[in-house]
Symmetry: C2
């Protein structure tokens, strides 16, 4: 089981690195870095297949019960999430490549994407950490960075919708899709956090928090 | 196992109905229908939870082996796909509600969305059917409608990028996101088809097709 979660954690790390580089490629219109993300994507796909195989082996060979069963099933679901995170980083890199040598982003939104990139990378690392630690409280914390991501995403739309937007429709379409890729990347990291809570406690994050609060009340 | 797939099939049906109505709400700026999709979304969420419970019960109580194990694990993955299809239909309905009483879509792209809606609904129904029939050949066919969806999606972007676009940036942003919702809905239907191939044959669609072609060659 620890082996499966370690593979999933490694995959989160790679997805985070991919998003970090894709963001760099996007902000600096750097073709070489974009190409590297695109080439390296294969590694993420391989880890997804590895993780599924490990999970099947655990299910088939060890006839697991209750807690282990829950953890393995969550493992299958986490594969789908982290695989998607990798695909979203790949999408970002492809936009950077498609627009090169031009910048895909108008300069006025660079700051938003630098910050959304920073949050996305931070969340991928946090997902890796909670996969290893199985700490449900840390796993729930992923939601806070996601709230920050959602705020940025909302602000980005106000910039787009502003009458002062002078970069045309094509740039607006790119910014819209790119914004969505970062936001979905963060959503999947949050889902991984939720699934770790379930792996570790058998509860949804809501049930877990409620139980914790009841416990605190008992000690007051 | 048939019970689990029936629940998943029912959920596909509901996701298809949601997308059908959401498209109608979008094209006709019909607030009542949009609201209905939003209210009915709860039913899809409930079916997701039902399906996961059924899958856990099958895993835990029947200690399944090989084929059944594969089918149940695929069941968990299908839940995630169909749940997402429901969420994407909900997103479409919410855009229709947000823009009401205005139409979210400029009239010149109505035809694209009518057709993307028709394909999405057809694919949700096909996903339901292959979940019930477990026919791998039909399950692979879902890719063809997805190719048609991708074509429409690409054409939609040419309309958006055209210098003649006179509907402003806000409409372009809506059209971009809406187009993506339909395209992702179709992607998830294709994924369900892939997972049914795996449920039924233990092979990926690529492995299954290769084996079929070898079989045909043997008979020539």
């Amino acid at each position: 089981m620890a082996g499966l979660n370690a593979t999933l954690g490694e995959e989160c790390e790679l997805a985070g690195i991919a998003m970090e580089r894709a963001t760099q490629a996007l902000l600096q219109a750097d073709l070489a870095i974009a190409e590297q993300v695109i080439t390296d994507h294969e590694k993420i796909t391989v880890l997804s297949a590895d993780a599924e195989e490990q999970a099947f082996a655990l299910l088939a060979l060890q006839a697991p019960v209750a807690g282990d069963l829950r953890a393995i099933v969550s493992g299958f679901q986490i594969v789908a999430d982290v695989d998607r995170m990798g695909a979203l980083a790949l999408h970002v890199a492809k936009v950077a490549r498609r627009r090169h040598p031009a910048h895909a982003l108008p300069e006025e939104v660079n700051g938003y994407f630098a910050e959304m990139g920073r949050l996305a990378v931070k969340m991928a690392r946090a997902a890796r950490e909670v996969l290893n630690s199985q700490d449900p409280t840390d796993a729930i914390q992923l939601r806070e960075d996601d709230d920050a991501m959602d705020d940025l995403h909302r602000h980005l739309f106000t910039v787009l919708m502003d009458r002062e937007w002078r970069h045309g429709v094509a740039a607006a379409v790119d910014v819209t899709l790119l914004g969505r890729y970062y936001e979905r990347f963060a959503d999947h990291a949050v889902l991984i956090g939720r699934r770790v809570v379930f792996q570790a406690t058998g509860k949804t994050p809501e049930q877990f928090q409620e139980a914790e609060e009841r416990l605190e009340d008992d000690y007051i």
